[in-house]
């Protein structure tokens, strides 16, 4: 399988490294139009493309790692060319874009695999399996926290522009929206508050959302870009009729180094993670490859990406209306 990565920033770099440890062939990388990502492409022996069209010509699978506002156009171009598609999260900036992308891929008969990578983080997978085993009984009250600093885009700082990244809700909270759905099912109502709306002069964002699930469970979601560099903390707790399980990355860190100060080194785009034999992004892409080869059922469907966006959009409406907002329902063919 010939892979092409559209987008040569932080996520494109992460995916390139992940593809290199699979048996797929990373053959092409494209950056923003007009710039060849020579250095990254050379590192993996891939062609540095000057345009998306050039990349699409060379590959079987387009792996979309471009800024979020570009997802829609790239996916439509790839689908029109009959290429399989992998797309980073969030699937798109809006649910209507996502709907169009799903329809285009369906029409073209190609896969659209969404990179909700937290479904491949082993601590979350372990929790999902524990819930399925009945370890906590029926989930009732769930809590998810994802706390870090605002990422910085390579070159232009596109994360800072909500019109391009979707801001904190779409870029960060979307992970835990997907987790809440994964563990407790569809969401019908959202009430949310954010620092960006309440106190725009603060210059940082922090968002809390209370979700009501269709089955009656309730979830507390906390996403933060208010932490100092280089913090990235994730936590979750699932309380159910038989018990409670929790994870706290800070509390459960297996390695603690207390070293003489050398200045805080931090990635442009913070990535959480515990030491593992395989990084979750690699696990995710290996799974996507197996799906494309018909070897595994999808762990995350394109409609999951759309469903997460619909919850995020309800949250965004709530931030401004100060009212709980219903989540738009969608006919979602599997």
């Amino acid at each position: 399988v010939r892979i092409g990565i559209a987008g040569a920033g932080s996520m494109g770099t992460t995916h390139a490294a992940a593809w290199a440890s699979t048996d797929a062939a990373l053959v092409a990388i494209a950056a923003e139009p007009g710039r060849r990502p020579t250095e990254l492409a050379e590192r993996y022996g891939a062609t540095a493309c000057a345009s998306l069209d050039e990349l699409i010509e060379l590959v079987d699978v387009v792996d979309v790692c471009a800024p979020t506002d570009r997802h829609h156009d790239i996916v439509l171009a790839a689908a029109a060319a009959g290429k399989q598609v992998i797309c980073e999260k969030p699937l798109a900036l809006t649910s209507s874009q996502a709907r169009a992308m799903i329809a285009a891929c369906r029409t073209a008969g190609v896969e659209l695999l969404v990179g909700h990578v937290v479904r491949f983080f082993p601590e979350y997978v372990a929790a999902k399996h524990a819930i399925e085993r009945g370890a906590v009984g029926t989930p009732a009250v769930l809590r998810f926290t994802r706390s870090t600093y605002r990422p910085r885009g390579r070159g232009d700082d596109w994360f800072a522009d909500p019109a391009r990244s979707g801001g904190l809700l779409l870029d960060l909270m979307i992970h835990d929206i997907d987790q809440a759905r994964w563990m407790a099912g569809d969401v019908t109502r959202v009430y949310a508050r954010s620092l960006a709306v309440q106190r725009p002069e603060a210059g940082v964002d922090h968002c809390l959302a209370l979700l009501t699930h269709a089955n009656g469970a309730i979830s507390h979601l906390e996403a933060s870009w208010a932490y100092p560099v280089p913090v990235f903390r994730t936590r979750f707790e699932v309380a159910g009729t038989a018990g409670v399980l929790d994870h706290d990355a800070d509390r459960d860190a297996p390695v603690r180094a207390t070293l003489a100060a050398a200045g805080a080194a931090a990635a442009d785009v913070p990535l959480p993670g515990s030491p593992m034999h395989e990084p979750p992004h690699t696990t995710e892409l290996r799974h996507f490859l197996a799906v494309l080869r018909g070897e595994e059922p999808r762990r995350v469907a394109a409609v999951d990406g759309l469903a997460a966006l619909l919850v995020a959009e309800a949250a965004a409406r709530s931030l401004h209306s100060d009212q709980p907002e219903p989540v738009a329902t969608e006919e979602m063919p599997a």
């Binding site: 029926t138 989930p139 009732a140 009250v141 809590r143 926290t145 706390s147 109502r189 009430y191 508050r193 620092l195 309440q198 106190r199 603060a202 922090h206 809390l208 209370l210 009501t212 009656g216 469970a217 309730i218 979830s219 507390h220 906390e222 933060s224 208010a226 932490y227 100092p228 309380a239 159910g240 009729t241 038989a242 018990g243 409670v244 100060d322 009212q323 709980p324």
Partner: protein, 343 residues
């Protein structure tokens, strides 16, 4: 209030309904108070409690209130707080009342007014005001090192309390479920930390945990808006299973101008595996917040000190818990208007 010549305030206990009375009796003795006696609507419960704690039994509240008391601790069912506090106020003795102050706003306001009219001090049992970790954060905020506080996330989760006292889950006696039980502590902490009042409350609740056993909500998530612009969430769920190593816990994180501060009021504990306590136990070694509360009561009654936490504080927190219940029922946020202290 006339201070005792021997400096030992005489305290009566109005009911053993609330389990905190078990702790308070030891705290009162440690604080140098005389525990004069206990009365209870349920003579069986009261007499058994008195025998277990070596406290004289009084068959009627009037007789206890007539026993030359300086103050009472009201540990009755929440629905009876108003009756008991008003009786104490009429007898001219100071009051420490368990939380929440009442099951209705009318009752809470009435019992606060009764004490104000009678000129007797009224304290609300918010021991977190006396928790050493919670106080350290209050002091940290006062230094300004966090800068302006923007947002807060609190959890005050617990076991289903009916294992200790069945009336906690009977709405006519307790006023409700997890919302009435566990919203008030963090609300009070936030009012104390922020020196601000709650202007809007939204709550979403469910009854999945213990659904066959109780009729009240057992899961609850609440969002508060303060007049200072801060928004804060409270998880008040009874979401700790019966096998949890302790009753529950209270944690709070504050997001501010210069970072984040987190506090776990009950983090000061050992982890013990094995032995008579079972496979996992958490014996606490932190300072006893209840002792601080009772010491404050004794200082008020003996020395005429100003209470650190008042009936007004209890009323404000009760209004928030009741607003949360209304929000959960209606599905819409509930606005709270401000009242001048002493109203």
């Amino acid at each position: 209030m006339s201070p005792r010549t021997d400096g030992r305030p005489r305290i009566g206990l109005l009911s053993a309904a609330h389990l905190h009375v078990d702790a308070y009796v030891a705290n009162l003795r440690a604080a140098g108070a005389d525990v004069v006696g206990l009365t209870d609507d349920d003579p069986g419960r009261g007499q058994a409690w008195c025998a277990a704690h070596d406290v004289p039994w009084f068959d009627r509240a009037e007789r206890l209130l007539d026993a030359n008391l300086d103050g009472v601790v009201v540990c009755s069912e929440t629905a009876d707080h108003r009756r008991d506090v008003e009786a104490a106020a009429a007898a001219g003795v100071g009051v420490l009342c368990e939380k929440p102050l009442a099951t209705t706003e009318e009752d809470a306001a009435a019992l606060v007014a009764a004490c104000a009219t009678a000129g007797v001090p009224l304290l609300t049992a918010f021991p977190m005001r006396f928790s050493a970790p919670m106080r350290e954060v209050r002091e940290l905020l006062a230094t300004g090192s966090l800068g302006q506080v923007y947002a807060a996330m609190g959890t005050n989760q617990g076991e289903l309390p009916m294992r200790h006292r069945a009336w906690f889950v009977e709405p006519t006696r307790s006023g409700g479920g997890a919302l009435m039980d566990h919203v008030v502590h963090l609300t009070d902490v936030l009012r104390w930390y922020l020196d601000a009042e709650v202007t809007e409350v939204f709550a979403t609740t469910n009854r999945i945990l213990h659904a066959p056993t109780v009729t009240v909500e057992t899961g609850g998530l609440v969002m508060l808006a303060f007049d200072s612009g801060v928004f804060a969430s409270i998880d008040c769920s009874w979401s700790k299973p019966d096998v949890y190593p302790t009753w529950g816990g209270l944690r709070l994180e504050l997001v501010g101008e210069r970072g984040i501060v987190g506090v776990d009021a009950f983090a000061q504990r050992l982890t013990v595996h094995g032995g008579p306590e079972g496979p996992l136990a958490w014996p606490a070694w932190g300072s006893d917040a209840n002792q601080g509360l009772i010491d404050d009561l004794v200082a008020v009654l003996r020395d005429g000190a100003v209470p650190s936490v008042t009936g007004e504080d209890g009323l404000a927190a009760t209004r928030v818990a009741l607003a949360a219940a209304r929000s959960a029922a209606s599905g819409a946020p509930v606005r709270l208007d401000h009242r001048e202290p002493g109203r």
